[in-house]
């Protein structure tokens, strides 16, 4: 019953978004049925549709998880964007610098670099909040700008192949590549960039679930998010929790770099993120800050992203901006629902003991 209720509201939000989206399409002068058929049909076709949809979903699962963990801990991490840039660069840097290492060593090392870079970058606003009480929203936003500028500078002046007109680093060593899923899945061509990072994303969801609801650390994170003074009363160090939660959040955001660098472009490509960090906020909200919800929401946003292209190409008037409109509508309706149940901020009933 509880589970049903938890699923019902996001589902209603999505249905409402599509209903209003249909009106918009109608007003522009195209057929909503045809538009949605293009949108969903291309996203679910085999193998390209599904392959790309899951590929697009991968970074959104990571950033959605990142935002969800932070929200469970009572923190709003708007800085996933900056964290994933720093992390992706760190991943690439290890892949370039230690290119001669064997794969078995290099891949974990690259992952570790990205995860720690993301965690470290997110820990900065955590420490600032814990130590000086400055608000994490402001600091994570500001650190986004710094992160983008920092990795842009490093790419431009230190790691670009001289003469390359594109803002990207030298390629990482071949040993750092992680396999595309096409290698294992029959019928899925290797040109589709869906890779092992997708499985890692699913694993991360499971890990976050266990962390939050099955361990004492998760108990403390959620307690702090629910009521800092009650957590303090229970012997939890709020300051420690703030830093820890931000670091975990940043680590998850940082895993985007694994998908991007090790599984897709095999180098750091400046400006690669299509606002993954910010879309992650919407994914977490729609997914009710629960790992399973995050997977579902990330998938929905990936469907929209994938379906935008054919909508653009094959309709008369509607452009792929309809995707942005739908995304905005989903967020709007999710937010509206949150208004209806005030006081329940960030607290799903899923996964209770």
């Amino acid at each position: 019953m509880k589970l049903f209720r938890e699923l019902l509201f996001p589902a209603i939000a999505v249905v409402c978004a599509f209903a209003v989206g249909a009106i918009v399409v109608l007003l522009i002068g195209d057929s909503p049925v045809e538009t949605f058929r293009l949108l969903l049909g291309s996203a679910f076709s085999w193998p390209d549709g599904i392959g790309y949809t899951l590929f697009f979903a991968t970074p959104l699962i990571f950033t959605g998880l990142a935002v969800a963990v932070a929200l469970r801990g009572g923190l709003l991490n708007i800085g996933a964007e900056g964290q994933l840039y720093v992390a992706a660069f760190a991943t690439a840097w290890v892949g370039i610098t230690f290119a001669s290492l064997p794969s078995l060593l290099l891949v974990p090392l690259c992952c570790l670099a990205g995860i720690s870079a993301g965690a470290g970058w997110a820990a900065i606003p955590g420490v600032l909040k814990a130590r000086f009480g400055s608000h994490e929203v402001i600091n994570t936003i500001m650190l986004n700008f710094i992160a983008v500028a920092l990795v842009g500078y490093l790419t431009q002046y230190h790691y670009r192949i001289p003469g390359d007109p594109i803002m990207e680093t030298a390629p990482i060593g071949g040993a750092a590549h992680i396999p595309r899923l096409g290698t294992f899945v029959p019928g899925l061509p290797a040109r589709i960039p869906l890779n092992v990072a997708f499985l890692l994303a699913l694993f991360a969801c499971w890990l976050v679930y266990v962390l939050l609801w099955k361990t004492k650390w998760g108990y403390e994170i959620r307690a702090t998010g629910q009521s800092p003074s009650a957590a303090e009363y229970g012997g939890v160090s709020i300051r420690k929790e703030i830093v820890l939660t931000m670091a975990i959040s940043g680590a998850l955001a940082g895993m985007v770099g694994i998908n991007e660098v090790l599984g897709y472009r095999y180098r750091y490509y400046d400006g690669f993120s299509d606002n993954y960090g910010f879309t992650g906020i919407a994914v977490a909200l729609l997914g009710r800050n629960h790992p399973v919800g995050v997977i579902a929401a990330a998938f929905l946003f990936a469907v929209l992203q994938r379906g935008g292209v054919p909508v653009d190409a094959f309709t008369q008037h509607v452009s792929k901006d309809i995707v942005l409109i739908l995304q905005a509508l989903v967020i709007l309706f999710v937010a509206a629902e949150a208004l209806f149940r005030r006081g329940n901020r960030g607290q799903g009933a899923l996964g209770r003991i």
Binding site: K216, S227, G234
Partner: protein, 505 residues
């Protein structure tokens, strides 16, 4: 004004909050409506005030059936209501607050002078002693309440409904307040007070209506009844109003506090060189008007204040625990029932089971496996069930969120959890605030039983009755200092009240 509720019913979802109520409030009387939390007394009065609409039944004002659809209708008829939580705009003056919603003057100008004169006249008539030009923020709680009364009187209320009016007042203020009510009755006003304090019912009212489970279970003349009868009607069984306890067999000193001073975050002194001991097997009570350092005292003892704010020594079983944090203090046997159960004591969205391990969640038996990283769901469930069973927490479902429980059951959950520790020293603040009479009796018995088992108890309560009934020794705090130590068995409430307000016993 005579007010009559005839056959009033009101349903909220599955709950029948008011079940065919019949209440008659004669003109020019003080009428008490008593009942436990959730008995439906506030609902009934909110219906009379137009806040809710009854599903069926009639409201009669001076024997005429009236249709009260909204508070504005009630106000027009001369019914006023003062809520438990004041509805005042704090940065504005008394006059501005009182005229709010009924501003004098034309549409474009505001004639506050005339209004202020009217308010002064009213204040003098009822001896309220409220300064019409004062800013509400500068007023004491008691004065703010009188502003609320003035607000209703200014709107020519002939009948005033007061929801738990004495909850926020000191004993002296309560006396003054009753004087005001009597003067209002002399002037022909009708007063309805909603309360659960039986002593006050007996002291002030002419008639009493007792409610239980949404029904009226008694309409009585105050002179013809007693506290025991009212309590029995309210709870539905005989209730022990006095705490039964044997004399304390005090043992070794468990807690020894010397020259404890606490600075507030703003640098002001909240506690000033307080020294006292609590021995095993005794209950030491701390009485005082709220805000005189009790909160800080308990938080300092529980380890919840930063070391920098606390000076002096706190010794537990002869060992200085100044440097220990809240977690370590709980580990050595200091349990703490906080005064604010919603903010401190509970995680409202967490299940009862999760709440039952707050504070011990990180160690066995709550945590076990993988180097005590994983929560042991089974052990947690067992612990929760034990607390629920031994403290009669209802409904007895460990999976429910704590938010779903009534105040009394939330409190029983917290106390049960802390008793599980098991404690050598119990710090317990406002143990029965907002708790039903039946549960109060239960909680008091448990505290006494804990004491008899040799636990040292420090009890802080704003309820004089409670703190005198339970304590073996009583400290009175005033302005951050111990104003006196008295024997609760001998001292009168007047003596204690005097110490609480800075006088001498």
């Amino acid at each position: 004004m005579k007010l009559e509720l005839r056959d009033i019913s009101k349903r909220f979802g599955a709950v029948l909050a008011n079940d065919h109520l019949n209440i008659t409030i004669p003109s020019g009387t003080i009428h008490a409506i008593v009942g436990e939390n959730g008995a439906g007394k506030s609902t009934a009065m909110r219906i009379a005030y137009g806040f809710y609409r009854a599903d069926s039944g009639d409201i009669l004002v001076d024997d005429q059936v009236r249709d009260i659809r909204a508070p504005l209708d009630a106000i027009a008829l001369g019914i006023g209501m003062v809520h438990q939580h004041f509805m005042l705009v704090r940065p504005m003056t008394v006059t501005e607050n009182i005229v709010l919603g009924a501003e004098p003057g034309s549409a474009v100008s505001l004639d506050l002078k005339q209004a202020a004169a009217g308010i002064r006249a009213l204040s003098a008539e009822f001896k309220l002693a409220v300064d019409a030009d004062a800013v509400v923020d500068d007023l004491s709680v008691g004065q703010q309440q009188r502003v609320e009364l003035l607000k209703a009187l200014y709107r020519r209320a002939a009948l005033l409904i007061l929801d738990e009016p004495t909850a926020v007042l000191t004993p002296q203020e309560v006396e003054e307040f009753f004087g005001i009510l009597r003067r209002m009755r002399e002037q022909g006003k009708t007063v309805v007070i909603i309360t659960h304090k039986l002593s006050e019912v007996l002291a002030i009212s002419d008639n009493v209506t007792v409610m239980r489970d949404g029904k009226v279970v008694g309409n009585l003349r105050t002179n013809d009844t007693s506290a025991a009868e009212l309590a029995r009607l309210m709870v539905g069984r005989d209730v022990l109003l006095r705490v039964e306890k044997a004399p304390a067999k005090a043992g070794a000193t468990v807690l020894s506090v010397r020259d404890l001073s606490i600075a507030g975050r703003d640098g002001t002194r909240r506690l000033d060189k307080v020294s006292f001991d609590v021995r095993a097997g005794e209950i030491v009570g701390v009485a005082g008007v709220e805000g005189n350092g009790q909160t800080e005292l308990v938080e300092a003892l529980a380890g919840l204040l930063p070391h920098s704010q606390v000076a002096g020594t706190i010794a537990f079983n002869g060992r200085d625990i100044h440097q220990l944090n809240a977690r370590r203090r709980r580990e050595i046997g200091i349990a703490h029932v906080p005064e604010d159960r919603h903010r401190r004591g509970l995680l409202l969205e967490f299940s009862l089971a999760e709440n039952a391990i707050l504070g011990v969640h990180y160690r066995a038996p709550a945590a076990g496996g993988l180097g005590s990283a994983l929560l042991n769901t089974r052990a947690i469930g067992q612990r929760a069930e034990r607390v629920i069973r031994e403290f009669d927490v209802r409904p007895p479902n460990p999976a429910l969120p704590a938010r779903a429980l009534s105040g009394g059951n939330q409190q029983k959950l917290i106390i049960g959890r802390e008793f599980e520790l098991p404690p050598t020293l119990l710090l317990i603040s406002q143990p029965t605030r907002g708790v039903d009479i039946g549960a109060i009796e239960f909680i008091h018995r448990k505290i006494v039983a804990l004491r008899d088992n040799g636990c040292a108890v420090l009890l802080v309560s704003a309820e004089l009755e409670e703190v005198t009934a339970l304590s073996d020794r009583l400290l009175v705090l005033h302005d951050g200092r111990i104003a006196g130590e008295i024997d609760p068995a001998e001292a009168t409430h007047e003596q204690i009240g005097l110490l609480m307000t800075g006088g001498h016993a």
